[in-house]
Amino acid sequence: MISPARRLALAVTAALAALVLPAVPALAEDTPSPSAKTTFVLGIKQDIDSLNPYVGVVASAYEAYQLMYDYLTGSSEKDFSPVPGLAESWETSADGKTWTYHIRKGVKWSDGQDLTAKDVVYSFQRAIDGDTENGQYGNYVANITKVSATNDYTVVMETSEPSPSMLRLLVPILPEHTWSKVSGEDVGTFANDNAPVGSGPFKLVEAKKGQSYRFEANKQYWAGAPKIDELIIRVYADDAPLAQALRTGEVHMVNDISASVFESLMNQPNITTSDSKYSGFTELAYNVGAATVDGKAIGNGHPALKDKRVRLAIDHALDRNVLLDKVLRNHGTIASGVIPPIYADWHWNPGSAARAFDVAKANELLDQAGYPKGAGGVRAGPDGKKLEFRLFGRESSETSKKNVEYIRDWLKEIGITVTVSIMSEDQLTAVIGEGEYDMFEWGWVVEPDPDFQLSVFSCGQRSTEDGGEISAGWSDSFYCDESYDALYEKQKTILDPAARTAVIKEAQQHLYDNAVYSVLYYYNNFEAYRSDKFTGFVHQPSNGGSLVFQYGTYTYRNIAPVTNQTAQKRSLGGIALVIGVGAGLIALAGVAVVLFSRRRRVTADERE
């Protein structure tokens, strides 16, 4: 029978071996065996809410759809201009209402079947008729009246009026032979995560919700086979573990990380950071007079905000450069219009006529508007009502909490007291819908086609009321002005890009002059990748645009592993340390056991 002392020694050594053993993989991890297939791992923060293109709404879901499926047309990586997709070429009728697309021949689905015009018609017909499907792609197919296939490789679409967005149809083309099995009712919860059939550059092979999604390259892709063999998208809860994973080499690229994490990654070895222009902006929005579509006033917005001069005064009081420096750490640009500069041809900005940060002008404007400074420096209107506004910030965004604090302090300077409260985006959406707010800080991500963004300020997008129940539209400023609506409707029907641009710019100027929003800044998208492991990243647009989450899959198809495996000076220190500690522990345990057992023998007789 093994004496207790020896049994104890065995247990201790076994436990320590278990502790040290895992250190071995840290070693193995660094020398990927050459024969294995090359895998690129992208770390993201926002889990894909659904792989079903008719259900998913978050940006990462759209990235997955672009990988799995094709679209009729794409956006060029140089400047987002329309480029051929599944449609090799296309013609429009004289009156601009009939579009003919010529489908590329020889394109196969991942299960080997041929992709034909019938699939295109099926995808568009479903987007038009299906409840859930229309909810997702309604604004693309709103004015398509008829879709038909004249032969296997030609599709003809008729529209109620000429529409420039026919070259921006972000409707994925799905295989009819698999999707016909999914009925209208259960499409809402159809997961589409079991090796779905697609024609895109990658094929989904494994989906572990909340953890990772594995795609295999489609080596027969019509626009050229991707250079990597496998793409994995891994999901992380927060910036901290995401940045950590990049440093340990578990992921090769990270996207959408916060400014502070980005800063700390800047000086890390083997990591290249990319501060890319992005199509998003952040604004301070006002409740310019909440009312429903049929004009009935709702909510309890502060009447003073209806007066343009008050809004202009507030705009002058905002020091956008401080936000740029303190909040964005100079990763972005200050802003005026609602279309970001990334879309060079649509973007409008007032240039020298931009409103400068000018507290004196702000005070002057408020005095003119009839709100003199009252007791304690707080301004009040002719009816004695003080200028006290509610300002709502968003719980899920750190920058939002900082912005609202800055805005509160600045407005205090010009005699406006602001009470800040922080809430979830859901609660804020509900509050906006009912008009129960004065000001809030949020932002928009603008699509290549400005139509939807401009529609947000049209009268039609205000809340609707039926039977006492208010349901919110997309307007969050409740701005309603005939001349603006006219401009908006006009641009919807102009085909000639130059003419349409002029109208769009006029609309942006109108919004700026009326200070419907105080657009604060265009923020950059922070990305970082392991330059020691992969190369060939593509910017969209080429002058410093983002590398992933683009309108297209250029980066995924172009990256390739860095061939010359230069000496891996990866933090060997770390590995050596782990093994050193392990060995030390074993030696220590050995000594302890010997001492322990000897002591036991000597005193066996003596111990009580």
């Binding site: 953890q211 994995i232 859901d426």
Partner: protein, 336 residues
């Protein structure tokens, strides 16, 4: 006066049967608690302001208003509350916890997928903590007043006062300064290691953090119950029989001291599961804890509802196990 029966035969060992009435009573109370939790859960989420349907089409993607009305009808928000309640209970019976707003997937599937990592992480940490904690607490209680006792109990009180995730955060900072970066998450698809070892490697840091805090708790529990037994008369009898000191402790004091600790072991289980929320977030461990943290953004109400039910059901089940296990261990209870 006394007659010795032939050979002084010893009757067969009596089986340790648990009276059926006791088992039924305990199960019914446990079920009662679960019903209470279901009712609380239902009404709790009816207080929420905000428009659930809106969550289906957040900003940046447009959805026309009538579609929102239709979603509200599916969610049954318009119905009078008692009809909603029966529908809710009926669904619950078939494990249908509704659809998660944030993730557009049935809540029961989400919870099912993320249950195993939490059980793995919390379970390992718990067994480790209970084992080491009780061993340490027993020795500290036995050698009452000795240096080991003073040091281990003051250390335990300190760790007991530390939130688990804080310990995790500090550990991560220290390690990252040292250049040793423990992997985040549960698995690394790139690693050439067999999955089991890879997961083990990822588990080392979070399990250590969780275990250390609960070693403190269990050693305090064990120490106090050992102190209760420390001066009992039957220990003097055992010593008088000639047993060595450590045998007296292991054969006589420990079984008696272990009993109250086992009930407390299950009672504190609820806290272990809650503790996992913090640690899983800091270490990005894809379990129920991080699912709760993700569900807070939004907030994703059906998911939170489902998680709350799962956590409570788990703890209620564990307490039922404790109630049933205790009489098997302590003969005195079985008699009553």
């Amino acid at each position: 006066m006394t007659t010795t029966t032939a050979g002084g035969g010893v009757r067969a060992r009596r089986p340790r049967a648990l009276p059926l009435r006791y088992v039924v009573r305990k199960t019914v109370t446990a079920f009662g608690t679960l019903v209470f939790v279901v009712i609380v859960n239902f009404f709790l989420f009816r207080v929420l302001p905000g428009d659930p349907a809106k969550a289906f089409s957040p900003r940046g993607r447009n959805a026309d208003p009538n579609r929102l009305a239709e979603i509200r009808r599916d969610l049954g928000l318009g119905l009078p509350w008692h009809e909603q309640f029966w529908a809710y209970v009926k669904n619950l019976a078939s494990f249908d916890l509704g659809v998660s707003w944030g993730q557009h997937a049935p809540v029961s599937r989400l919870i099912g997928e993320r249950l195993w990592p939490t059980v793995l992480l919390s379970g390992t940490a718990l067994l480790l903590a209970a084992g080491i904690g009780m061993w340490l607490g027993a020795r500290a209680g036995w050698r009452h007043g000795s240096r080991l006792d003073r040091v281990s109990s003051s250390g335990a009180v300190t760790l007991y006062s530390t939130p688990e995730w804080l310990l995790g955060l500090v550990l991560l900072i220290v390690l990252s300064d040292l250049g040793v970066i423990p992997a985040a998450g549960m698995q690394n698809p790139l690693s050439e290691l067999p999955p089991a070892l890879d997961i083990a490697w990822h588990m080392v840091a979070p399990v250590t953090v969780l275990a250390v805090v609960y070693i403190a708790e269990y050693s305090l529990i064990m120490r106090s119950s050992m102190l209760d037994e420390r001066y009992a008369d039957y220990l003097t009898t055992a010593r008088a029989k000639g047993l060595r000191d450590d045998l007296v402790m292991r054969r006589h004091a420990l079984p008696n001291a272990l009993l109250p600790s086992i009930t407390l072991f299950f009672l504190t289980l609820g806290f272990v599961v809650s503790g996992a929320i913090g640690v899983e977030t800091v270490f990005n461990w894809p379990g129920l804890g991080r699912l709760t943290y993700d569900a807070l953004r939004g907030p994703d109400v059906p998911l939170l509802q489902g998680l709350f039910l799962t956590f409570s059901a788990g703890v209620i089940l564990m307490n039922l196990v404790a109630d049933l296990l205790y009489p098997l261990l302590d003969p005195r209870v079985r008699a009553s």
